[in-house]
Symmetry: C2
Subunit: 192 residues, 2 copies
DNA sequence: GTTAAAAACGAACGTTCGTGCTAAAATATC
DNA sequence: GATATTTTAGCACGAACGTTCGTTTTTAAC
């Protein structure tokens, strides 16, 4: 790998950490440069604008999410086991790996009312993410492991809002309490 | 009412709108001053710092939430009817009144990793809000309208994560679809 | 080892940020 | 209507913002 790509990866790694903690908008070129130990202009030249940087950061987040949550889960047996693994890994991702909470949630909330390239990209990634859940749920239905008459999109909504609840509660109360609630509701969703 | 309080109210009204759309952090003194039609320093002198302004804005949001959602709901019959009214008004509040989404959700996500007065205040308000739901749910249990063995805190978690799901989905898909999902899940929560 | 390309730097740009002042204008009190 | 108080404006500050520039250093290719 060339030097350029290497530092670019380094930058994005730091940028994602900062984004997780403080949000995509407060990500400043100067601050980011300081945190990776290089000059503002040197960093800037890798991306040609702040918008481009933000888009790249979200892409990096999506890449990490796929490799840490989606891909490993697919190794699991089709249906409920895979779905369960996905939930487990998602919690792990947002609990251990993303110190400041899921960057998709925070960036979405931040940008849902700011038209532009960044918002469009975030929305697209979010939809892709929900699509992954829907696909896993559909498989569980096909495999007759989910004896429900509900639509896939509604089940995905329940799964996803449960995640959101966990996300907020884990910062509001204790992580343990949030996790208990999350697991309990997930059980209910797949058992009805 | 004195002139001072009047303009202060005016400022907070504008500030809450901006916060709902763009988040509590992007609320700038200069921008806010322009939007209410007064000078930066003139506005600034009403609050002694930006932090104080942010706190006041959230207080104003809480005040509005109480008067638009909580108080009217209490006029409804105790138990499920009151809880239902609360949900209905909450949706209305975040759909019609708060153009850019619920300011509690966005500000919480924005500040959950930034220690300081603002975060503490947001957390406190958020807990108060959940407390209101829990109280309404407790009443429904006391009135034997909820034949569930679940704890109040867990039921509130379900109600609240359902709201979060609605919040995200209404910006991601259509408001109608989001609302359908929300209503359906709420029915399930109060019927099991 | 020389050379061409890529990467990083330092300085400066025009803006905007939050925050102090002081003075003028508007309001309230008597 | 005069006086005291509150409210607003104007101006300036240092810092940080994203961005551009020309230059120097580092890397890659031959």
């Amino acid at each position: 790998m060339s030097k350029g790509l290497e530092t670019k990866e380094n930058i994005l790694k730091s940028a994602l950490e900062l984004t997780s903690k403080f949000g995509l908008e407060s990500l400043s070129i100067g601050g980011l440069a300081k945190s990776v130990g290089m000059s503002k202009s040197g960093l800037f030249s890798h991306f040609k604008s702040k918008e481009a940087l933000q888009v790249k950061v979200m892409d990096y987040a999506a890449f990490k999410f796929t490799s840490k949550v989606i891909k490993p889960a697919i190794k699991e047996e089709r249906g409920i086991p895979r779905l369960e693994k996905m939930m487990e890994l998602w919690i792990e991702w947002s609990e251990n790996y993303m110190a400041g909470g899921c960057p998709f949630v925070s960036s979405f909330v931040e940008y849902d009312d700011r038209p532009g390239v960044v918002r469009d990209h975030i929305m697209h990634l979010q939809k892709t993410m929900i699509g992954s859940f829907e696909r896993a749920i559909q498989i569980a239905i096909d495999e007759k492991q989910l004896k429900t008459s509900e639509s896939v999109q509604y089940l995905a909504y329940k799964v996803y809002s449960n995640m959101l609840g966990y996300h907020i509660y884990s910062h509001l109360l204790s992580k343990e309490q949030a996790r208990k609630n999350f697991t309990k509701q997930f059980r209910e969703i797949i058992q009805t």
